[in-house]
């Protein structure tokens, strides 16, 4: 009766396991920005509002509405919900929402600064695990560097207290950071400590090229621009382990590089995933808040949004002449982070080339030997040959043509 060779139960220990034999669920992952408020005030942050901002707090979705969204997400087949912010632990109803999501059979991915982790919360994560490692952003290894970034007195001690509670309760978590002038000398110390964490299989990831403010706050943007590294500085940091960096990019470029044409959504935004902001507005991705691309869940359903609205948005084509002349023809698409979300944050449009991102992609390509100093990638005709030589590690032959 039980199929030959098949156990009674099949264990699925990876998110990548093919749970479904026929169609994929309409929604597999949901990001929920529970709040835009944060108890830190980081120099580079693209979203945060003050922790006690009364207007934001009043506008945030009530508990019942969030539960309704979680219900609908689960009914659409969603497997993982990411609780992020702002600082999601600032929400008074966080524990209730966490338990609710877990009881729906959802995995919960939590993005936090760890400062608000209390003994009862660590105990809860230990008893009812999120099933995905918590992601903790660590801004520095010393109080001076940490609080120079967070601009919040006492945040260093609070964060390390939270981290130690997670360690004590053996709650799986990984750490990441943001590379900024105050902590730039601590990379080695951070990575050395991170390597001692039992759940860190890889080196920590970093925010290096900071996004502008998600609500297009120009005062905040001036500050963020100030802390952005030059493209060359950023690329040098990314390539600091040259062999590993080359290996990863050779494999990446072989698969994901080439001109996108006038297709704006060359990424996976809105394909099996969605993001709800703190006020119930659904977005294709966390970055994209352009009014033509968002859906008010107060006026419709999650199902309608992901099955009808998102596919229509994804059909939008680029019209900006500059974009069509450059980005649409640029073979560095894949390396370049130009996308409707970044265009929105920088220019308030969907298809305006973002010079900073263009410069980063070109700096990276030059570093890899794919471009000469003065070359612009959208003018390169033999890009397929260059990518092939690069991907196959034939650097000498690549040097002969560029």
């Amino acid at each position: 009766m039980i199929e030959q060779g098949s156990p009674y139960i099949v264990r699925l220990s990876s998110e990548k396991a093919p749970f479904w034999k026929t169609a994929k669920p309409a929604l597999m992952e949901l990001d929920m920005e529970l709040t835009e408020r944060c108890n830190n005030n980081c120099l580079h942050c693209c979203i945060n509002l003050p922790a006690d901002d009364p207007v934001a707090k009043k506008r945030e979705l009530p508990t019942a509405a969030i539960k309704e969204i979680l219900n609908e997400a689960a009914s659409l087949g969603c497997f993982t919900v990411r609780f992020t912010g702002g600082e999601p632990l600032l929400k008074d109803d966080f524990e209730e929402l966490y338990l609710y999501a877990r009881k729906l059979g959802l995995k919960v991915l939590l993005f936090t600064n760890a400062t608000l982790i209390t003994p009862p919360l660590a105990e809860l994560f230990s008893h009812i695990p999120p099933l995905v490692e918590i992601e903790v952003t660590v801004y520095g290894m010393k109080r001076t560097s940490y609080e120079a970034i967070t601009r919040s007195s006492g945040s260093f001690e609070a964060a390390w207290r939270g981290i130690n509670l997670l360690l004590e309760k053996k709650v799986p978590f990984v750490v990441k950071s943001a590379l900024l002038p105050p902590n730039s000398e601590e990379v080695e110390a951070f990575e050395s400590w991170a390597s001692t964490l039992p759940w860190m299989d890889n080196l920590p990831s970093y925010s290096v090229f900071f996004d502008l403010h998600g609500r297009r706050n120009e005062a905040k943007n001036i500050l963020i621009r100030d802390f952005r590294p030059t493209p060359q500085q950023g690329v040098e940091f990314l390539a600091r382990r040259r062999k590993k960096y080359l290996r990863e990019l050779q494999s990446f470029c072989a698969k994901f590089i080439g001109p996108p044409g006038d297709t704006l959504f060359a990424c996976g935004a809105g394909l099996g995933g969605a993001c709800v902001d703190a006020y119930g507005v659904l977005q294709l991705c966390m970055d994209l808040r352009h009014p033509d691309t968002v859906y008010d869940l107060g006026k419709g359903s999650l199902k309608e949004a992901v099955t009808r609205f998102f596919p229509e948005v994804r059909k939008i084509k680029a019209k900006n002449l500059d974009y069509l002349t450059r980005c649409a023809r640029c073979f560095l698409k894949g390396l370049c982070e130009q996308c409707p979300g970044k265009s929105w944050a920088e220019h308030g449009t969907l298809d305006t080339p973002v010079e900073y991102l263009c410069e980063i992609a070109h700096a990276q390509a030059r570093q890899l030997g794919l471009l000469e100093e003065e070359e612009m990638a959208w003018k390169i005709e033999d890009w397929r040959e260059r990518i092939q030589l690069f991907s196959e590690g034939r650097e000498n032959e690549l040097r002969k043509i560029c």
Binding site: M1, S6, K21, G105, P129
Partner: protein, 107 residues
């Protein structure tokens, strides 16, 4: 696949069995996925389970109200396999689910 943690379980055809409140069973695109709610269900923290078609047919009948022998009778009427084989599969699955704390016995 390991056979689960070493817990002494006995399966009786007169027993009543039902899913534990420590797991959540979800149906996604026709697949039954069992998601642990509390720690200690699987061998790993992120472990999920699914049942094959026959396992699912058994699972759907384990509601805590039907004795296992009644479940056996229903399955025997539905499937063409010999009763002895069905009983072996039924008790085998229940034993494994009990061992993994996915199922509980109603007393």
């Amino acid at each position: 696949m390991s056979s689960g943690k070493s817990v002494d379980v006995r399966v009786s055809l007169d027993g009543l069995y039902m899913p534990s409140e420590d797991v959540v069973a979800r149906s996604i695109e026709g697949e039954l996925i069992i998601v642990p709610l509390v720690a200690g269900i699987g061998d790993m923290e992120d472990e999920l389970y699914t049942l094959n078609e026959t396992g699912k047919a058994i699972w759907d009948r384990l509601d805590g109200r039907k004795k296992l022998k009644d479940v056996l009778a229903e399955l025997s009427a539905e499937f063409e396999a010999p009763v002895g084989e069905i009983e072996k599969d039924l008790t085998g699955l229940v034993e494994e689910l009990l061992r993994r704390k996915i199922l509980i016995e109603v007393r």
